[in-house]
Every structure is written in structure tokens, then in C-alpha cells.
Symmetry: C3
Subunit: 347 residues, 3 copies
């Protein structure tokens, strides 16, 4: 996009997004704004009906809306209709880059890179990071400060490893991944044998394989497999404080919200979405496209794909809502039973 | 308090706390003790009726009690009556400082401070820490070891940043805050647009603003906002392993126990208290003074202030208890229904 | 075990494990395999009936089975019967060590060890680690990179402290322990007094005592006690992302799965097992040998030992299952009540 960085017109933005403009194409846009903010000369987006009333604020503002959107009141707001609002936001967010990016470039003089490690072209390495022997870092990868990269670790091209990340020996990470601060990848899983003398450790022989375009959130943990590898397939996005246990396989484009945990040897099918604080028991298979409501617990296989689940153990989404609605009314239900009992003839 | 560090008398302590002493003002006190410990020449406190029997142990001990407290048995224990027991404990805890404080002073020779960073008077910086350009560190702030402070970060006066904390560019932190080890502040939130080619990142343009007197626990995460800032208001206390997502606002003097998570764009009203492992859904407003029981889940706005909530989704506290009491009896309720069905005439 | 590292025969392995071999003692074994993998010349194990069908794959493979195991179909697989399958796996896992071990040896030139710290014989210290005055590190202990060890910390013999671990002053850690990356031990607990001016910190005077053979997972947190010490007894194993609050005592050989949290002053009896995402309220005593199902919440004392619990608040395991089965049927139960009401005479 060959534009000045100072501003863009609504028309230029609409063209860029292949959108349809309704309103003033000459409106100057200086940045993105939250829907509640009503800041002039910004562009915001309509993501949820709950916020519709916030649209009709400053006339000097543009709003991204879905193709089928019809304003409920007459307005002089400039609308840009697009087929996928969030994708358009994603595109715009990289145009208006007043973001504070923790960019580094070059290799710090205060880091420790083993002579047996291989760095691709234009790799950056931050202060006090350690890269051990046999590690291979792909071109343009950025290793921030205080990172530990163990022996024989592979890091793909253009991958960003943020400050404080620890990657244990033998782990393989794809291209264009982002690992957020203090994430820990490849420690031994929680595998012990209970003997008369207490727990005995099972030495873990598997590794962790993270494919391309994966993100792992801050302070998240991915354990290595006991016998087979732990695998995170391409495009999967993991939020902060997530636990991925030994031998788990997370499918392509799976999204997992913060503080969820997947127990050992379980499989999350492609395209599934897990809310926050979800728990998946061990040795469980979750069918592709499953949507699991926040805080739910999955204790057995999910066989049917593309369904929505809720509760612990999970029920189908609407069944859970129905049962929970009656759970709230249990005191009333008991009253009704009492009344029936009282009205019993001859008792 | 101008006393010798070796001991204090019960009378001196009572004066210091503006308390009322019942017993021996000359009793020598050498430190604080847990209520179960029965250690002579210490002072303990009565915090919970469950522990009352532990009070009546060693006669050579003092106990802080609330103003209205009446001992249930005759005893020669020395009592100090105070209006707020916990506040008195807090005061005393800083008098008997045999605590192991990880104090450092001065700036380590083994750290990396960009020439464009500004350090106030008497700032301490630990080993292997990194402070990037444009960062401004307030007077007397203590930055421990292995800390990363990104570009343009502001740290207020007397704030303590413990070892391994990572603060991303542009974040602003107030005065007298404490950030515990390995906390991560200001990474991009979990915001992606789902397109045909998988998830696309939404570049986050907001920042994180942490006001004065805030504490953030070990390994906790606070994400930067997508469009507006994530804000933690003054006096809020966050325990360990907490997730605060993008665009969240946490009100003044909110207390959140460990492992709780607040999803994107939600607001926690002033003075609210969240138990451990609580989850708050996205775009939810929690009214001021709300008390949310541990492990509960809040999926919709809480409109009424100062109420107590429990369950998932939350019910009012006593409603949840009533329903759960009947949940336990469901097998019995079903028996009663069966019996009624059997007794039906003419079926 | 004085064998060549290249391979072992099934007979040698059986002898080593004091097992009973059924099949070919000359079968050459080159490593461990997952039960689903069907890789020839490996040994796998039968751990769960769900996987029995995977046993009968490659004839050139050995399978560890429990003493009482009878194959359900005729097969030429080589079986080794052992009394404790998982203990045998643990033994074998250390024989077939193709594991990527993050070994380091010697003391890095890029670390900071205070002159007042004492290092035992053959202690290793990684890059950029900090060991403060008065710390005493036992013989053969391994301190990896980016570790902080505060004043007067004691680390026992043969203990391994992984990269990024932070240990606050005064903490005591036993022998043969493993602390995984970015774990935080000994920060002040979440203890504040609520006063008119907001929360006031209670300075914590207790410490953390970790006995021998304990493991603490990645990104887990163990807080120091307010007045008495937080204690983790010998042989306890804690998974990743766990919260242990101030003054908690965790008994011998307790195992706690990921993302569980134990609130202040609670006690977990010897040999108990907690699933993932379990929460234990404050001031609660859990009887020895308790088994607590994942995601459960314990709000009151568990008096009876060796029982299984489920739900929030917990019920006995089977009671929870019974109640939950009826929770699912609540819409149906209500229909039955409606029908009874309709059939009431004279209403």
C-alpha cells in the first residue's frame, strides 16, 4: 500500500479492502478506534450487535460493517462494507502501525551462541540469550533477550521468540511462529510410575514439533512426549497460561483461549475452538470443528464434528442450557413435588 | 516506631496499634506467630472463629482480637483489642522484620541500559536486565535481575520489578507497584481474524496502563489492548497466574485471587473481589463491590453492586447454595417422582 | 545394566525387570515405542484396556503387560509380564536414553556468584544466572541459565534447577529435586489487610521448605508463608502452572496435575492425588490418600482418608456421577412433574 503514513482517505481504505463505501470517500482517517470511543477521523468496526448504538457517534468517522448491514437510523457516518469485518480489521491494523513493536536487529554482544549452532541470514539475537550446539535458526528469525534455546533445536524462518522463552533440547519450531514471553517448550511431561518407594520418573523420549504459523502465549507450557512427539499443527493459536501435556496433538487452525489445559495423549481436531479455562482429560479425541464453551471439561471422546459443547462433563450446548435453567429452579421443582405429595389421596 | 529491634512489650504494641490491652502490658514480644503455633513471647491474631480454640495456649503470648471479642473461657492470655485485626497484623508485620528481603542497590555492571533510557535518582538495576531506549524509571524504583523493559516504558517511583518480569514497549506502570517474578505485561492480546487461509493476527495498537499501588503476581499476564488500552486502576491486587486480556479495565482496589482470568474488553468494578480460578467472559461489566466465589464463571453483565455470586454461570450466592443442595438430592427427588407416578390413580 | 547401547534382547530386558517372558527371548529391542505405533524391534506397554487392540500389531515387538494379563487372541507377540507396568516403563526409559538432556557442566564465565555463596563439589551453573550471598548449593546440583537464587537459599545435592527459575531469599530446597523452567519459589503470598485507604500488605515472615525428591513444574508458583513456612514434603510431584499459596503444607508423595491451585494455610494429606484445574479453598485439610477428580473444588475439610471426590463443592465420586446423570435429565424430570400435576384430581 503506497500511501503516506500520515493519513489515508476512506476511499483509499475501501479500495484496499475491496469494500463498498457508503458516505464520504474523501474522509481522512488517521487510525483505528474502539467502537465506544467516538473519535473523529478514525475508523472503527461493527463486530457485535450489542455495540450497534455506539456506531452512530462522530460523523467524521468511518465504520467497517458486514456486507448485509443496514443502519437502523439515518446517519451521515461513512460505512465501508466488507465481506469479513475481522479480516479487514486485521489488514487495517497493520497499515496504521503506531504499535510499539519490540523490534531488535543484529546479534547482541552480550549473548552466548555455541560455535556448533547455525544462524541463518539476518537472524537477530537479544541480550543474555543462550543458543546451544546443534541449534539451527532460520533466516530472519528474531530471538529476543533472556531466551534459552537448547541443543539441536530447530527454529524456522521469520519466527519470533520473545524474551524469557525456554526451548528444551531437540524441539522443532516452524516458520512464522510467535512464542510469547516466558513460554516453556519441551520439558518432560508429568509422567511417573507409582512404586512402593514413591513416584519414579519416566524419562521422556519424545520431542515437541510445532509447525508453521503457530502462536504460543505468554507463560504457556508445552511438554515433550513420553514416547511419541507432542505436535502442534500449522496455524494453531494458543493464548496465555495454557498447558499442553505430553503426547498431545493439536490440529490445524485450532484456537485455544487462556488457561485451558490438554492432558496427556489427547488430540484436538482441526479447526476446533476452546474457550478459556477448558480442561481436556487424557487420552481423549476431540472431533474437528468442535466448539467448547469456556470452563467446560471434556472427559471422553467427542465423535461428532462441528458441534458446540458446554458443562463438565460436557453436554451438547443447548442441552446444558436447558438443564442449567432447571438447576436454577430446583427449589421450585421440589416445592411442586411436595405439593403433589400433599395432595396424594389416602396418605 | 523508635524501639529496639530485639523485643517490644505488649503495652508498647498496643499503644502503637491504638488498641486496648487486657492482660500483661509488660509481656515481651519477639515476633509474630501463627495461631496454631502456641509459641511463647509472640503475638498472634484471631482471624476466624474456626481457630478460636487455638487462642488459649501459651499464657506468655499475646493475641490481637477484634474490639467486640469476649474470651469464651477464663484465661491469662494477654489480649489486644483493635478495630481492624488484619490492618493491625499488616502494621506489626513490618515491625518484626526478620523477613528475607531480596534487596538490591545500585546498578549492576552486568546489565544493558540504552543510552536513551532515563533513570531517576537511586534507581537500582539487577544483573542481566535490559532497559530499552525511551524508558523512564522513577526515583528509587528497583529493577531486579533478568528483567526486560521495552522502549518507552514508564515505571513510577518506588516501584519494584522482580526478577524475570517482561514489560513490552509503551507500557506505563505507576508508583509503589510490585510486579512479581516472571509476570508478563503488554504482549499482544489473543485477537485474530478467521479467514479462509486461517487466523490472521490483529496488530494491537493499545497499550497497558497500570496505576499506583498495584500488585501483579508471579507468572501473571496482562495483554495490551487492540484499540483502547488495558487499564488496571490504583490499589488493585492481582495474585499469581492470572490472565488479563486485551482492553480489560480493572477498577480501584479490586482483589483477584490466583489463576482467575478476565476475557477481552470486560470491566471489573471498583472494590470487587474475585476468588481463585474465576472466569469472566468477554465484553462483560461487573458492578462495583461484586464478590465472586472461587471457580465461578461470569457470562453476562452484573448490574447490581455489592452482591455475592456463585456458580457457572453465576447465580446469586444463596440461590446457588439452595440449588446445589438439591442437586445433591436429585436421586432422592427422582425417587419421590417415581413414587408419585406409581400412586397415580387409574394408570 | 552392562549391555551394549545398540540393542538389548527381550530376554535381557525381562531379566532386568524380573519379569516373565512369553515369546522370543532373542528378539532384539532398540527402543521404547507408543502403543499405537506398531514399530518393529521396539518394546511398548499395556497401560489401559482402551488400547488393547493396539497390542497385536508387529510380531517383531515386545509388550510389557501386568502379571495377570491374558491375550484375547492368539498372537506371536513377545510379552513380558511384570508386577508394576509403569515402574518397568520407568526403568526401561532410563536404559534407552536417546533423550535430549539439557546437560551442562562446570560454572559459566557469564554468571554472577556472590563471594559469600558456597558451592559444593561439581556444581554446575549456567549462563547469566545469579547466586546471592549466603546461598549454599549442594554437591552435583545443576543450576541452568537465567536462574535467580536469593540470599541464604539452600539447594540440596543433585538437585536440578532449570532455566529461568526464580528462588527468593531464605528458601530451602532438598536433594534430588527438579524445578522446571520459570517456576517461582518463595515470593510473598497474597496477604493484604483491607483498610479505609485500600489494601495494605502483610509482610511475610515465613519461608518455603521443599523436601527431597520433589518436582515443581514449569511456570508454577509456591508462595512463602505469612507466619509459618509453606512446606512441600518429600516425593511430592507438582505439574506445570500450579499455584501453592502461603502457609500450605503438601504431604509426602502427593501428585498434583497442571493448573491446580491450593489456597492459603491448607494441608494436602500424604499420598493424595489431585487432577488438573482442581481448586482447594483456604484453611482446608484434605485427608491422606484423597483422590480428587480434575476441575473439582474443595471448600471444606475432607475427613475420611482414601476416598474419591468429584464436583464443586465436591461430593463423593459416585454421588456426583448419580446427581449429574439426573442433571442431564432435568428437562425430562420436569415433564414428569407437569404430567403428575395435570393428572391431579379436582384441580
Amino acid at each position: 500500500m503506497e500511501m503516506s503514513t500520515s493519513y489515508h482517505t476512506a476511499g483509499q481504505i475501501s479500495d484496499q479492502l475491496k469494500g463498498q463505501i457508503i458516505g464520504d470517500p474523501a474522509l481522512e482517517i488517521k487510525g483505528l478506534s474502539a467502537i465506544e470511543s467516538d473519535e473523529a477521523n478514525t475508523i472503527t468496526f461493527y463486530g457485535h450487535p450489542r455495540y450497534e448504538q455506539h456506531i452512530y457517534g462522530s460523523q467524521a468517522r468511518a465504520v467497517l460493517v458486514p456486507t448485509g448491514f443496514d443502519p437502523q437510523i439515518t446517519t451521515h457516518i461513512t460505512f465501508i462494507k466488507v465481506s469479513n469485518v475481522y479480516e479487514a480489521v486485521s489488514q487495517l491494523s497493520s497499515i496504521f502501525t503506531n504499535i510499539q513493536d519490540p523490534k531488535i536487529s543484529g546479534v547482541s554482544l552480550n549473548c552466548t551462541i555455541d560455535a556448533g549452532a547455525e544462524l541463518g541470514t539476518d537472524v537477530s539475537v537479544g541480550h543474555y540469550s543462550v543458543i546451544d550446539s546443534g541449534a539451527r535458526i532460520g533466516a530472519r528469525a528474531v530471538i529476543h533477550d533472556h531466551v534459552y534455546i537448547g541443543k539441536n533445536v530447530i527454529v524456522g524462518e521469520d519466527t519470533i521468540i520473545h524474551s524469557g522463552v525456554k526451548i528444551m533440547p531437540g524441539v522443532s519450531i516452524g516458520s512464522r511462529c510467535i512464542l510469547y514471553p516466558n513460554a516453556v517448550i519441551g520439558t518432560e511431561g508429568f509422567g511417573h510410575a507409582l512404586s512402593k518407594e514413591g513416584y519414579k520418573k519416566i524419562a521422556h523420549q519424545g520431542s515437541v514439533i510445532i509447525e508453521d504459523n503457530v502462536e504460543i502465549g505468554s507463560n504457556s507450557c508445552v511438554d515433550r512426549g513420553a514416547m511419541r512427539d507432542t505436535i502442534i499443527r500449522k496455524g494453531a493459536k494458543l493464548d496465555n497460561l495454557i498447558q499442553v501435556a505430553h503426547g498431545v496433538e493439536i490440529g490445524e487452525n485450532v484456537a485455544i483461549a487462556a488457561q485451558s489445559g490438554i492432558s496427556g495423549s489427547s488430540t484436538i481436531g482441526k479447526g476446533s475452538q476452546l474457550g478459556g479455562q477448558v480442561g481436556i482429560a487424557g487420552h481423549v479425541k476431540v472431533a474437528p470443528g468442535s466448539k467448547i464453551q469456556a470452563k467446560s471439561g471434556v472427559a471422553a471422546n467427542i465423535e461428532e464434528a462441528n458441534k458446540k459443547w458446554y458443562g463438565y462433563p460436557i453436554l451438547s450446548y443447548y442441552n446444558y442450557l436447558r438443564s442449567y435453567a432447571l438447576f436454577k429452579q430446583l427449589p421450585d421443582l421440589e416445592e411442586r413435588i411436595k405439593k403433589l405429595e400433599k395432595n396424594q389421596p389416602g396418605e
